[in-house]
Amino acid sequence: MPDFFNFLKPKNELENQGGFAENHPYIPEELWIKCPVCKNAVLSSDLMDNHKVCPKCNYHFRIAARQRIEMTADEGSFEEMDADMSSTNKIGFPDYEKKLRSAKISSGENESVITGTAEICGEKTVIAVMNSQFMMGSMGTVTGEKITKAFEYATANSLPVIIFTVSGGARMQEGILSLMQMAKTSGAAKLHSDAGLLYITVLTDPTTGGVTASFAMEGDIILSEPRALIGFAGPRVIEQTIRQKLPKDFQSAEFLLEKGFIDAVVQRKDMKKTLAKLIRLHKTETKEEVRSE
C-alpha cells in the first residue's frame, strides 16, 4: 500500500529506523571526520573551511538550520520571526510530547523550521530554513504556520521568499492537521506568487513526502544541492510497493534535473552568490519606474 508519509534515512542509517535525529552525519567535535560516502578521513577544520563539503568526494554533509543561515545571510542581517512558536499535542497522540521534548534538546530549536528576514549580498529577502535535527524536518502545524506567516509577511512587504527544505514528510503525530499544512502553505505560496513576487526553493538532502508535494515544488525557481535525495515516496516505500530494487541515483538531485523537475544543481560554496544573483535578476525597481512615469 502506498504511504504518503515517508520516513527517510540515508542508506547508512537504515539500522536506526524509528529514531529521529540521533545518528545523522552531523559533524562531531573530533579532529578527524570519516566521510560517510567515500570513507576518507577528513580533518575537521578542513571540512569547516570547505562549507562542510567533503574535499575528497564533494559529499555535502547535512548541516543544521542555524549554520545554513550563517552561510547564506549577510553577517548580522538575519532577524528571526516567530522564534517562540512551539508545537502542542493537539490530537492527543501517544508520546508526542516526549518526542517534541527530545527533538528540542537534540536540535536546540523549538521547531523544524526557522523563519525570518535576511540580506543576501545586500538583497533583502524572507528566508525559511528547515532543520533535519528536529524530528527529521517533519511538517507539523507550527512548521506550516511559520512558513505561511513568512509568505504572508513577504507578500505584504513585497519581498522574495527563499526556502531551504529538508524533510521526511508530514508529521504523523499531528494526524490530519499535519496534512492540512500542505494546503495552507501552498495557498500562501500561491497568493505570494499572484502578487508577482519571487519564490526560490533550495532542496537539500533529503526532501520527501508532504513537503515535496507542497511548497518544495512550488518555487518559481527550484535549486538543489548535489546528490540530495528528493522524492514524493521514500525509496524503501517504493521498493516495498514494486518489489524490486531501485536504480542507482534514482531520486537524486541530478536525476530530477534530468527529468525536468529542478532548474539547477548548485554547489554549496556557490549557493549564496547564486541566490543573490537570482534575486537581483527579479528586482522590480525598473518596472515600478516605468509604471510611475
Binding site: 500500500m1 504518503f4 508530514a170 494526524g175 492540512m180 497568493l191 517504493i238 527529468k259
Partner: protein, 256 residues
C-alpha cells in the same frame, strides 16, 4: 464502531465507488473526458462534464474499480501524476466555463512507483494544491471511501469537504503508522484510533463540513439525497463572487 471498523468499512470491496456515484447522480448526462494532454490518460481518475438539475458541472473522481479486472486497470484508485494533471486540466476548464466542480475521493494514496516519481508525483500534487486554492469557481469534495493523504488532498482543496459516515481521511495509513512508530503492523487498530481519521473525529477538528449518513440499504436513498444536497450547495455558492469565494477557501485552510 471503533476507528478500525470504519477503516475496514471504508475499504470494503462492495462499497459504491466514484463510478456508482456518477452514474446514480448524473445518469446519462455524464460525458467522460480523457487525458492530461501531457503524457497519458490515468484511469485511476475519472472525469467529465455532466448536468445537475439542469446546470452543467465538472465531475472528477478517484476510481478504485468495482471488480478485480477494473481494479487492475484503474490501479486500485492510486493515481499517477498524469491523473492529478488530468484533474487539474478539468478544473481549469470548469473555471473557464464558470461551472462548479465536484470531486469524489476514494484512494489509499497517490501511487508510489518509478514512473510516478520520474514524472513528478510530488510536483503534480503540489500544483493541484496551489491552483485549487485560487480556482475561481466553487469546489466541493466528497470522501466516499478512503482518503489517503496527499493523494486525496490533491482533490480536496475545496470550499466544503463532506465525508460519508464510514469514509476515512488520514495523513498516513494506520498500517504505515503502526509499523513506523511501533514497528508492529499488528497495532493497526490502535493507530487508527490515534490518527483521528473517522468522519466524526474530522468533523470535530473542523476538517470537514458535513457527514453523510449511510442508510443500511445504501443504494436506496443515499444518491437522491446527495444529489439534492449538492445542487443546493452549488446554488448557494453561485451567488458568491469569485474573489470572496477564494478568500473564504484560503481562510478555511488558514485556520489549521
Amino acid at each position: 464502531m471503533s476507528a478500525y471498523d470504519h477503516v475496514i468499512a471504508a475499504r470494503a470491496n462492495d462499497r459504491p465507488t466514484s463510478v456508482d456515484y456518477i452514474t446514480r447522480i448524473f445518469g446519462d448526462s455524464f460525458f467522460e473526458l480523457h487525458g492530461d494532454r501531457r503524457f497519458a490518460d490515468d484511469k485511476a481518475v475519472i472525469g467529465g462534464i455532466a448536468e445537475l438539475k439542469g446546470k452543467p458541472v465538472t465531475v472528477i473522481g478517484l476510481e478504485k474499480g468495482r471488480n478485480l479486472k477494473e481494479r487492475m486497470s484503474r490501479n486500485f484508485g492510486s493515481a499517477h501524476p498524469e491523473g492529478y494533471r488530468k484533474a487539474l486540466r478539468l478544473m481549469k476548464q470548469a473555471e473557464k466555463f464558470r461551472r462548479p466542480v465536484i470531486c469524489f475521493v476514494d484512494t489509499s494514496g497517490a501511487y508510489c512507483g518509478i514512473g510516478a516519481e520520474e514524472r513528478g508525483q510530488g510536483q503534480a500534487i503540489a500544483e493541484n494544491l496551489m491552483e485549487m486554492m485560487t480556482l475561481k469557481t466553487p469546489v466541493l469534495s466528497i470522501f466516499i471511501g478512503e482518503g489517503g493523504s496527499g493523494g486525496a488532498l490533491a482533490l480536496a482543496v475545496a470550499d466544503e469537504v463532506w465525508m460519508l459516515e464510514n469514509a476515512i481521511y488520514s495523513v498516513i495509513s494506520p498500517e504505515g503508522c503502526a509499523s513506523i512508530l511501533w514497528k508492529d503492523p499488528g497495532k493497526t487498530a490502535e493507530a487508527s484510533e490515534c490518527l483521528k481519521l473517522t468522519a466524526q473525529d474530522l468533523f470535530k477538528l473542523g476538517v470537514i463540513e458535513r457527514i453523510i449518513r449511510e442508510p443500511k440499504d445504501i443504494e436506496s436513498r443515499l444518491f437522491d439525497s446527495l444529489k439534492n444536497l449538492i445542487a443546493e450547495t452549488f446554488e448557494r455558492k453561485s451567488s458568491i463572487s469569485p474573489e470572496k469565494l477564494i478568500e473564504m477557501r484560503y481562510n478555511r485552510f488558514r485556520k489549521f
